[in-house]
Amino acid sequence: MAVTRRTGILIVLCIAAAAIIIAWRPTVLIYGIQQAGLYAAIAIPMGLVLGIVHIVNLAHGEFMMVAAYATYFACKALGMDPLLAVLPAAAVTAGFGWIVFQLTIKRALKAPELNQLILTFGLGIVMSQGVNLLFTSQTRKISLDYVSASMDIGDLSFGIWSFVFVAVAVVYAYGLKFFLTRTTLGKAALAVGQNPRGAAIVGIDVNRVYGIVFALALALVGGMGALFITKAAIFPMVGAPFTMKSFCLVAVAGIGNIPGILGASVLLGLSESILRAFRETRGWADIVFFVLIIVVILGRSLKWSFPLKGRKA
């Protein structure tokens, strides 16, 4: 209990410090939430795969990168807006994911976890290096006017486009929650995630459900790939940090806790935003997720209680 009280005090002090900083520089809050939306929208599909298929997909960010490249070239060739490519990108990435699952991941499902990690890590390398060979490491970007839209509130001026990621994250989280708890296929997926042997006994084709869930997760990542290119430049290694940050968020939220990923993303987004607000700490922003995951894992090991511990999806 003493540890819990001390943790509680620490959390209250952190929240108070964050509140002071946010009151002093409100854009920290705005950009933190926008960043949180981006992280959550990318991490939620990883949480889905980990919660149901029980594999850590270390090629997660690379799938998004491939979808972003496909979107980039489709938009350049057809003169199309990336927003129109969101659904096609999702469909194509889902199909790609289904094929990758059937050819590789399905065969490693009963293998030791280390083999699965090496497999998906290898898939990630093949994708990033494949794109590098085909398209070079040159960064690519699509310039869009609406991305620079901003809003003024009093003296405060900030970009608003990135709020689209917040909306997508919320739609992903609650859309998946609806799918998993209200539809027969979603309940079958939950059943498979909780007990694959029990699921097979009631007539559920477990491998097919795994394939569908993996493809669904990649559809969500593919859609994010198309949206990502509206905001950021892409290059072959652009996905890797998102794999690590997604894994961090899923670990912080707890396996299978999809709404919890939203909370964890806010924590990460705000932490990064606060560090970026000061010149002296700006360089630390990209590694704050390491600190976060170490604190959470340490806390879980010492059985601290965390406010992010939430319900399972």
């Binding site: 027969t184 309940k187 079958a188 939950l190 059943a191 909780q194 007990n195 042997r197 029990g198 699921a199 097979a200 006994i201 009631v202 007539g203 559920i204 084709d205 477990v206 399972k312």
Partner: protein
């Protein structure tokens, strides 16, 4: 005959567990008895497609199901209540029962009617309908597992050690329910509680060292000196 097994051989890795098992089950309830390690669960797992058939055949309603995956065996009309229950612990009793019927093509349209029958057979499940299955007692979880299997309206119900880990009063209740069920569905039940189960089944088989060594009606088995000595403690 609903289930016909002929010359079945199977095992794990290089270890042979069943060597030439043959049996058939019609519209009846059959008890499969034997000591630990005799191969009872292996036989059930092989029927359910969880173990590969090395040699011999497993036919269900005349169809060879020896190479089918588990979900297709279930869809063909065989429901299993496993030793470890294998429920979905973070889902409600309602969802566990619903999933019992959701993927069995011939019962999807009858799930409401089947649910009523199951809840009538196990009234406690009606009381605990919204409770998470993982939070229930062992006996209640066993009832959820049997109810989930019955939701598939199976032609053959297989129960693997249904009394395992249950207190005596619950065991009696489980066998009472089995007695009711055998009027409507063929049953294959493995048990170590031979005395109790011989009251509930029509016929019995004794499996020892991977082979059927004794076969007969429940009354014949109850009088068999080997069964009396080894399983009834007489």
């Amino acid at each position: 005959m609903i289930l016909e097994i002929a010359g079945l051989e199977t095992g794990y890795g290089k270890l042979r567990v069943l060597s030439g098992v043959s049996l058939s089950i019609g519209a009846e309830s059959v008890g499969l008895f034997g000591p630990n390690g005799a191969g009872k669960t292996t036989l059930i797992n092989t029927i359910m497609g969880m173990n590969r058939v090395w040699k011999g055949s497993v036919r269900f309603e005349g169809r060879d199901i020896g190479g089918l995956p588990t979900h297709e065996v279930a869809r063909a009309g065989i429901a299993l209540v496993p030793q470890e229950r294998e429920l979905f612990p973070l889902m409600s009793v309602a969802d566990n029962l619903a999933l019992g019927a959701a993927f069995i093509p011939h019962v999807v349209s009858r799930k409401e009617e089947l649910l009523e029958q199951v809840l009538a057979l196990f009234p406690i499940l009606k009381e605990r309908y919204r409770q998470l299955a993982g939070t229930m007692s062992g006996g209640q979880q066993r009832q959820v597992a049997i109810g989930r299997a019955l939701m598939a309206n199976p032609k053959l119900l297989i129960l693997d050690e249904p009394s395992l880990g249950l207190q005596p009063s619950i065991v009696a209740e489980v066998f009472e329910r089995l007695g009711q069920l055998k009027k409507t569905v063929s049953i294959l039940v493995t048990e170590q509680n031979v005395r109790e189960s011989l009251r509930a089944v029509d016929r019995g088989l004794v499996l020892e060292n991977g082979a059927i060594v004794i076969e007969g009606t429940a009354a014949e088995l109850a009088r068999n000196p080997h069964v009396e000595r080894s399983y009834l403690g007489i």
